[in-house]
Subunit: 239 residues, 2 copies
DNA sequence: CCAGACTCTGAACGTTTTCTGAGTGGGAGA
DNA sequence: TCTCCCACTCAGAAAACGTTCAGAGTCTGG
């Protein structure tokens, strides 16, 4: 969830990962985010799928059974395919391998990732490489605004400093104003997919966020608790 | 329950649960709610039924004799079936297993559930994934309005704070305006199916609701008692 | 290598909610 | 009118829930 589906698909993506769980998780999630998705489980199939479907972007695991992601990319380029690539890398992959990735509009995220982060990165790359679509990477809710490119949050002019997790949490809330989000939903979207702790961590981070976002005790609180259900970001003007 | 049947069935559902009691309870209840229902008792049959009937949504117990719900889902996706899933999980299934259940428009409810909750969740998921039908998740009766997404109730503009059970009770009443509902009916729809207390609890909650909803002593009461029969939500324009 | 920031867990605390039992009130039939 | 029964309300116990804090462990930048 997060964003509503537009009329047509936003863009066509090629998802390549050899672990079926991750592949399906990504495919399902990205489809729901409004993308058209085709997927492959190895480098060979990925090349064939790229030829067949002409995607706008590929989400590509660097660790594949037959050839690594860099080889796949090189062959794609050699075949005249110049769509951008979002690499999936393991966290312990030496950094120098990763540094060369962000040239040419490509980007990467480390496994395990959070689903909303992948969607955000994909949109960011597409925004850079296909600047015709004029969504400006700024989400606004009342006097709150979150700039994805600058990674900056403001409440009525003044900047609010947030930790990475706080930022992602607020981002998810702002993408779904006036809709109650359960702790499970928040966990699934904001936290990394392999997190297997308690959903109560969401309570902690809501608490941290409120301390930074809802400071003024007189103003109506933006972040509200729906006891037994979840949390909502409530706009002032509602219907 | 709830709504009157339209001309055709609202959507086609696949119900999968190995306990025959629960399966039949769900199937009967959902049929009455206007859905077309097919059911299966294990993962294998579920996959076959999905192939044969092409449902719009599946209600899927995560604990099945042959394979768990996640495996079923993954195989469905691999087979190109991308309809949303509403998972049924046991509450004591240490909830960390919940990871990934709410992505892609999917959702879950914990056993034991209340029947109206399941119907509400199904409608919510269908609304999110099939946005062509533009019912906007708001139920209106006179100047009362109940917003399912925001989980918020208003009486003529002002917000009314309700506890979860109060909310579900009012919701059930609003789905059946001008129809007398017996305490047994209310209990069956609003409370969890394993509740084995007295029906007099309905009286208590009606009392709580009135205190919040029918405050104005001059205005005609919305919630009315039919002595010996049950309760009605009575609209102003009606008889 | 150190200091600070960040993430996550567990526990304490206060609050809300759920449910039950008992007393009170009022409607309807005899 | 009287009586019986149903419904209403209140009060209280137990459980569930959410908030916050302190602390342990980890990561990161200087």
């Amino acid at each position: 969830m997060g964003d509503m589906n537009k009329n047509g698909p936003e863009a066509k993506l090629l998802v390549v990962d050899d672990e079926p769980n991750i592949r399906e998780l990504l495919a399902t999630s990205l489809r729901f985010a409004g993308f058209e998705v085709v997927s492959a489980g190895n480098g060979r199939d990925a090349l064939a799928a790229a030829e067949l479907h002409a995607p706008d972007l590929a989400v590509l695991d660097v660790m594949l059974p037959d050839m690594d992601g860099f080889t796949v990319t090189r062959r794609l380029r050699a075949a005249g395919k110049h769509f951008p690539v979002l690499f999936l890398t393991a966290k312990d992959d030496t950094e120098d391998k990763v540094t060369g990735l962000t040239v040419g509009g490509d980007d990467y995220v480390t496994k395990p990732f959070s689903l909303d982060e992948v969607v955000a990165r994909i949109r960011a790359v597409l925004r850079r490489t296909q600047p015709q679509v004029d969504d400006d990477a700024v989400i606004r809710v009342d006097d709150l605004q979150l700039d994805d490119d600058a990674h900056e949050v403001r409440r009525g002019g003044t900047v609010i400093e947030l930790s990475p997790t706080e930022f992602k949490l607020l981002r998810y809330l702002m993408l779904n104003p006036n809709r109650v989000l359960s702790k499970a939903q928040i966990l699934d979207h904001v936290w990394e997919y392999d997190f297997n702790g308690d959903a109560s961590i969401v309570e902690s981070y809501i608490s941290y966020l409120r301390r930074k976002v809802d400071i003024d005790p007189d103003a109506p609180a933006l972040i509200q608790t729906k006891r037994g259900v979840g949390y909502v970001l409530r706009t002032a003007e509602k219907r």
